[in-house]
């Protein structure tokens, strides 16, 4: 048990260090109301959900919920495949979760083509996860084309963030 807590703390620290947006740890500062300053000055509080390996926060922040693509491409990069290996492992362990994969494109394309390109990207992720053992019935895809950019500048630094496929997980029944 002690070992597990130490591991969780280490992972949590790594996760914090890797994240540039502290606001996403919105519950990190919420101290448990039952927390007491015990003898010896030891504080106790609830764990940050992102430190719980079975939580959606852990999935999105520690494993990584998205993969990025080159311009006009739906080929998975080596980094993307590594992320998806993690996603497949997590989905294998947490078998009550379903996934919707959102495909996105940058703004430098026509609306219709970008919808189709987003569908290709989402499907590339879906196929990879299936090849790693995730049941196809647990994964749906949707393309947003260029409708939902994350970054709004008209430069490659933003386009690179927008050419993405994001895996959204939720607990649910396979229909």
């Amino acid at each position: 048990m002690t070992y597990f807590i130490k591991t969780a703390l280490v992972i949590g620290t790594l996760a914090l260090g890797a994240c540039t947006n502290a606001d996403r740890f919105d519950s990190a500062d919420a101290v448990d109301l039952n927390a007491q300053a015990g003898a010896g000055g030891i504080n106790q509080s609830a764990l940050d959900p992102s430190q719980n390996p079975t939580s959606p926060q852990y999935f999105s922040q520690t494993i990584g919920d998205r993969v990025l693509f080159e311009n006009d491409s739906s080929l998975l990069t080596a980094q993307g495949r590594a992320t998806l290996d993690g996603q497949a492992g997590w989905l294998g362990t947490n078998s009550d979760y379903l996934a919707v994969i959102e495909g996105h494109a940058d703004e430098k394309g026509t609306r219709e083509y970008n919808l189709a390109l987003g569908a290709r990207r989402a499907n590339a992720v879906r196929e990879y996860l299936i090849s790693k053992g995730v049941a196809s019935s647990r994964i749906r895809t949707v393309s947003y084309g260029k409708e939902r950019p994350l970054a709004v500048c008209s430069e490659e630094s933003c386009y690179a963030q927008n050419r993405r496929a994001v895996t959204i997980i939720s607990i649910g029944q396979v229909s």
């Binding site: 739906s74 703004e107 430098k108 394309g109 026509t110 609306r111 219709e112 083509y113 919808l115 189709a116 390109l117 569908a119 290709r120 990207r121 989402a122 499907n123 590339a124 879906r126 196929e127 749906r140 895809t141 949707v142 393309s143 947003y144 409708e147 939902r148 950019p149 994350l150 970054a151 709004v152 500048c153 008209s154």
Partner: protein, 441 residues
């Protein structure tokens, strides 16, 4: 880039040699085929108020008729301050010498009568230099809230008599109204007059809506909606503003729909397993057909006006290019061979041209080509132009333009098919994905 553009302009000007306005001996006629470089001067004295209380309506209708004509870039209104005389009444003889003296080639006179909720508009058109009336005088009657349509009908008749072409002013455009920042944009299907007046919203902003398309007679609108969480095609009845989902082949998403000319069939794109192909659904029977079957992206289909062919885009060659295939599917012929990528083809209602979006060297263009791909002409150039739609007479194209950067916004523009007269279409907010409806009856 600039040199290329200038070369294009020069070529366009040579190809469309200038023919000036008619001389005193020839009947008044602007031949659009030859292109028009110098706008034809016309006089339009404010229409007479035939009954008391009609003055404001007469002024408003006169203004809209003149704006329709000058908005084409083909006509220039002579200001009233230049007039030597003004007509004493709609029925009075025309003092042609006074209009010749200020070089008015055409004279439009009119009269407006408001009686309760009804308005009647009369007009006559004169060829000033020959001293003849062009065609018979006409009158239009309707309810006062439809007064802009009557002004458009007057302008359509004037345009048609002088150019020999059908008009396009009494028409509507369906589009996507956009508000909010780029990363949280709200979109609504909206409808308006061709000149941006009378905007009405047909959907709320609760979900993403894309690319509305008019039926050929303007009674229905197809659009793509994310209401179910996944892109699906909706059919909206314009009169009742009720809508239903189009039953399509099962797939991850259905989008990019268009009607056939008889309004009975819908062609669209369907993605399955990440692969997008073109399908057709018969609205009456619910029967589906698959028209393309390749691992490439096939999308943006558009019927030829005779219904026999479909133009669409495909990246089967490795980049987006335009192809034409028989309406029932079959072997497509590639028609675009220039540098860059070609998308969103739309067949002209006259059947002679295909408008498209072209991407080349980081710029977007709206262009036209013959249906065999020859005589490509780029009409516009900007950071992002896309989604052309044809005026009902096939002489003008409307499209969406998006500006660059974090604060980028969308707007509608129109341009004529010679690349002249680029104008912003006024809309209350951002606007994209225009679809130009038919001339109204």
């Amino acid at each position: 880039m600039m040199i290329r553009f200038l070369t294009f302009l020069a070529a366009a000007m040579m190809a469309f040699a200038f023919t000036g306005p008619a001389t005193a001996q020839e009947p008044l006629r602007l031949t659009l085929r030859d292109g028009v470089i110098e706008a034809l001067p016309f006089a339009l004295p404010q229409f007479e108020a035939e009954v008391a209380g009609s003055e404001q309506m007469a002024a408003d209708i006169s203004r809209v008729v003149a704006e329709d004509l000058t908005g084409t870039g083909l006509f220039r209104q002579i200001p009233a301050t230049s007039f030597i005389s003004t007509p004493s009444g709609f029925a009075s003889p025309v003092a042609f010498a006074d209009w010749r003296a200020i070089n008015a080639q055409a004279l439009v006179t009119g009269a407006v009568a408001v009686n309760g909720a009804t308005v009647t508009v009369k007009f006559r058109l004169y060829d000033v230099f020959s001293g003849q009336e062009m065609g018979e005088g006409l009158q239009f009657s309707g309810t006062t809230d439809g007064w802009r349509r009557m002004a458009h009908k007057v302008a359509d008749a004037v345009y048609s008599r002088i150019t020999g072409e059908a008009g396009y002013f009494d028409s509507r455009v369906v589009f996507v109204a956009e508000t909010g920042p780029k990363d949280d944009r709200a979109k609504r299907v909206a409808i308006m007059d061709y000149d941006g007046a009378n905007v009405q919203y047909l959907t709320d902003s609760s979900t993403i809506v894309l690319a509305p398309r008019f039926s050929p007679n303007g009674d229905r609108i197809l659009f793509t909606s994310y209401e179910s969480g996944f892109p699906r095609i909706n059919i909206l009845d314009v009169a009742s503003v009720t809508r239903q989902q189009l039953g399509t082949v099962e797939g991850e998403m259905a989008f990019s729909p268009r009607f056939s000319l008889d309004g009975r069939q819908v062609i669209y794109s369907l993605a399955n397993g990440g692969n997008t192909d073109i399908y057709r659904t018969d609205l009456a029977t619910g029967q589906h057909s698959r028209l393309t079957n390749t691992p490439a992206i096939e999308t943006a289909p558009s019927f030829s006006p005779d219904g026999s062919q479909i133009v669409f885009e495909s990246d089967r060659s490795g980049t987006q290019q335009l192809y034409v295939m028989p309406a029932n599917g079959g072997e497509p012929q590639r028609i675009s061979f220039g540098n860059g990528r070609y998308g969103t083809p739309v067949w002209s209602p006259r059947g002679d041209l295909i408008a498209f979006t072209k991407q080349e060297a980081g710029r977007f263009h709206i262009g036209v080509m013959r249906t065999d791909g020859s005589e490509e002409r780029l009409l516009t150039s900007s950071f992002l132009d896309e989604g052309p739609t044809w005026a009902p007479n096939g002489r003008v194209i409307m499209f969406a333009r998006e500006t660059q950067g974090a604060g980028g916004t969308t707007a509608l523009y129109s341009v004529d098919i010679t690349g002249r007269n680029l104008r912003r279409v006024p809309t209350p907010q951002g606007a994209s994905d225009p679809s130009w409806g038919p001339l109204q009856r």
